[in-house]
Symmetry: C2
Subunit: 210 residues, 2 copies
């Protein structure tokens, strides 16, 4: 059965961007640091049309996150900030459902990427993505707000945190303060390189009653 997964890179201090992210500074100041582990991987380079790169375990793990996927879900802020850097041929090559408050027509890009704008919330976006994926998995790529909303709504089958060994100091936090007590998120797999620690988590685990 198709699964809904989420992947996000996060600093040791819990930030998914540097400070002051904006369309002009998409990942915030020094925010590229959080994605540095990706840029030289062979599997990433292939996605953006480049040869070479490192064929490491990190490259395999990155590709795992894409291999079974038929559609993506992202937030409006991530879309706004990514639109320019992704250019005319975005690295997705799949339908991408953007969770937004503002209705917009579908936007088709080269290489198979198609942005669809969903105003009905994260559950609607995930549903539409599952249909578009036609039996393949749906991958939620962030930002933090959409990932949190999907997690709270019980929409995710797996979350992978790519923990980057750096203190960013400031930026968008992956996790907000919320009420309601502890929620278990068991670790199902841990792998690491010098660049990043991959934590695979099971959000379907049931927290014991309090």
């Amino acid at each position: 059965m198709a699964r809904v997964t989420a992947d996000i890179s996060v600093s040791l201090d819990g930030f998914v961007t540097g400070p002051d992210d904006s369309p002009a500074v998409p990942l915030g100041h020094d925010g590229e640091r959080l994605h540095r582990w990706i840029y030289n991987l062979s599997t990433w380079r292939a996605r953006v049309g480049l040869d070479g790169g490192e064929a490491s375990r990190d490259a395999e793990i990155l590709e795992e996150g894409f291999a079974t996927v038929g559609a993506h879900v992202i937030g409006r802020r991530m879309y706004d900030h990514g639109e320019k850097p992704w250019g005319d041929e975005p690295p997705f090559h799949l339908p991408v459902f953007v969770v937004t408050h503002e209705s917009r027509p579908v936007l088709r890009r080269s290489g198979g990427t198609r942005f669809e704008f969903v105003t009905g919330g994260v559950a609607a976006a995930v549903s539409q993505a599952l249909i578009a994926a036609g039996g393949r998995d749906v991958s939620v790529l962030g930002g933090a707000s959409v990932l949190r909303q999907c997690l709270r709504a019980g929409l995710l089958d797996e979350v992978t945190l790519h923990v980057v060994p750096v203190l960013m100091g400031d930026g968008q936090r992956l996790f907000d303060r919320v009420s309601g007590g502890p929620r278990e998120l068991p670790v199902t797999r841990v792998e690491h390189s010098d660049e990043v620690v991959h934590l695979k988590l099971d959000p379907k685990a049931v927290s014991p009653p309090r």
Copy 2:
């Protein structure tokens, strides 16, 4: 040469206590969840005078954090909140230097624990602890504020985060927002069990110039 290490248990969302910690609720509501991985380990039980428990890899890793140590440093808040639960024979069995603003006489407890109150800040506390340790290591046990102060002051040779796979939702954060841009904290070792992911970090690594 004697090293200065720090160990702290932290949730996936970056909290070292549950919400509303106080002397009456020392770790905050549900905060014991963050230390659950410790309580049944053979090495922990031996420290608190009990037989049995699990002789697992977690038990060995916990003991590593104590085996070479000659003195501890803790914060005043941790002291205030721990005083009652630790009881007449605290689990340290060593001199413990408490970073505080209030001068107090030395407090001796059974089993070799001696609390000394240091009003000169974290660097003074670490210096006094190094002297008391007589060539053995100094271990900083928290809370979050003292750990952050030691990290910023460049006093630590190793930091171990024991990441507990739970979202606490609220509590004391391990890391605050700070300015000054990214700080590298390379991972030197990763081990994990079902209960906890141990991340050993090298705070002496030099961040590249910005």
